[in-house]
Amino acid sequence: MLLAIDPAQIHDSLYAFLSILLEGAFFIFIGTVISGFIDAYLPPSLLDRMLPKNRVLAVAVGGLLGAVLPVCECAIVPVIRRLVAKGLPLSVAITYMLAAPIINPVTMVSTFAAFSERGDAGVLVASSRAILAYGITVLVGLVMIRVALRSVLRPQIQWAVDRGEAGGHDHDHDHHHGGAKLVHALQVAQRDFTDVAMYFVVGVALTAFLNNVIPRDWIEPLAGNDVTAIPTLMGAAFILSLCSTSDAFVAASLDEFSYAAKLAFLIFGPMMDLKLIFLYSSIFKPRFVLILACGLFILVGVVCHQWGVFDQAAVR
């Protein structure tokens, strides 16, 4: 099973690279502008006031924030980066970050539409996707309550959190005139854009290359049973790095795979893929990103496998 590369595939990779870049640039831009304005205008005390005091409840709310603040997986990274720096509890931030690309109206409607074309599975897959993703992300968030910030955040994000906790930044900046705040917001937006865009480019370049050169023939023989099919499709989701608003159309076309495997594809992909590995690395230490990726892989795999067992039993 050798990977033979036709030289023309290098051109094809450049084509695929640019297509993902053109698709994602707007969302990265919007995310970083929001990030700049959060930094300049959002008092950290507001986050404390808005979230439930109970940490478990706060995580549960974090998993649903995507429904009211819909952000795709590219745009959410700079936003989360800034919210964490502003003092949003890590457990809530990670729950929101992982859930928002799935639990938002756009993704739910597109999932419904993609599977509705194939009979009556639209409601089943769209609702299962949202419910399972919510459960998984809340579970991850609950685990994160016990994790120390310092062990997961990159030094510069940790530095910002420390400065906020030291009391240097939780005043409301009322003494700043609007113009200075705007300048600050847009300077932050610029720095965040260049920082996140760098990680994005590396992730997209790898995705575009692997997407074109790995034959689909390699994964089709593994579709036969869920023990191989689920990890196979999660691996495919990782490499393909599709946008959560369109991945359902690709999943729906994978006829040889079970619904459980397709669900794993649809849940794991928006939470962890090749380009996200690099984007997450702009917030978290690489070791944590690796642990998160492995943990999600196992958790999503097990949950979707059990969903498949339940689904088959229900059909019988």
Partner: protein, 304 residues
């Protein structure tokens, strides 16, 4: 005008953003963007991103020398020789300065990663897939329902008849099909590859189309899976969001003998008659070709 290290680094960032802005706007203005992403709304997103980056660059250039307001982050836990400038808020506390990375090497390397791959791609991308290996790796769509939404809009009568939704259509006829599909001067029904592919999942359309002269335009690729030397496939690419998620929709094209000379991935017009056969447990639409000729790439070569 003497610039500080901080200001030079800011300028480098502005330069990188301007390059992105020019690329995005260039793709939008030239229409090149349509070969890459779904035009309906993502095309507008490209314009907005380009204009937004341009505006952000212009604003930050105008305020290049502005001091940051109080503290905030952008800090690094390492020590570097940044300018300890007092914030504009006038505080003299120890966090009233800007913590920007002012290392030329660090900034330069980061911005190079952001810009160089983009420029190389803009210069060398051919705005389409060139290799048949890439197409094969993407895997051909196998379920005709995958194109149902699109085809049912184009062939409304056929779709309704197939589903038995219109009571007045007791039996779908060739005359019904001819109301929505034109014939070429040679008398062929001019159908698209996705429409022909769709018919493999629709018994009503198969009955009407079987044996009819048809013609279709698509790109040609060897049919290695069938093992038949007289068979090729023509395909078009179906895209959900961007070209990277493209999936080839194809039908088999069978010749009486060896296929005529052709180049892989070439755009061709094939005419012949439609037949249907079950292969590997699945109904296949097969175009029994009588003629294949090179043709121009259509303006809308991607199916969105």
């Amino acid at each position: 005008m003497q610039l500080s290290r901080t200001e030079i680094c800011r300028l480098m960032g502005i330069g990188a953003m301007l390059i992105w802005a020019v690329v995005l706007l260039g793709f939008y203005v030239t229409g090149r963007v349509e070969s890459y992403i779904r035009p309906e709304y993502l095309r507008t997103c490209t314009l907005l991103a380009g204009l937004g980056l341009l505006a952000l660059s212009a604003f930050n250039l105008r305020h290049l020398r502005a001091q940051e307001t109080c503290g905030h982050d952008h800090g690094h836990d390492h020590h570097h020789d940044h300018d300890h400038e007092q914030g504009c808020c006038g505080h003299d506390h120890d966090h009233g300065h800007v913590h920007e990375d002012t290392s030329f090497l660090g900034n330069g390397a980061g911005l190079a990663i952001m810009v160089i791959p983009v420029l190389i791609s803009v210069l060398y991308s051919q705005d389409r897939f060139l290799s048949s290996a890439t197409i094969r790796n993407k895997g051909f769509v196998e379920d005709p329902n995958a194109v149902a939404a699109r085809v049912e809009k184009e062939l409304p009568g056929a779709a309704s008849a197939a589903k038995g939704e219109e009571e007045e259509i007791l039996e779908y006829t060739l005359a019904d099909l001819e109301k929505v599909v034109q014939r070429s001067p040679e008398g062929n029904l001019m159908l698209t590859v996705d429409q022909l592919f769709y018919t493999a999942g629709d018994a009503e359309l198969q009955r009407v189309l079987k044996g009819q002269p048809v013609e279709a335009v698509g790109q040609i690729i060897p049919d290695k899976d069938s093992g038949k030397k007289n068979r090729l496939r023509i395909f078009i690419l179906m895209v959900s969001c961007c070209a990277a998620d493209a999936q080839p929709v194809s039908i088999a094209v069978e010749f009486p003998g060896t296929p005529p000379p052709h180049k892989e991935m070439q755009w061709v017009k094939v005419s012949g008659t439609m037949v249907y056969a079950v292969e590997n447990g699945q109904k296949q639409a097969i175009l029994k070709a009588v003629k294949m000729e090179p043709t121009k790439e259509p303006a809308n070569d991607l199916l969105y």
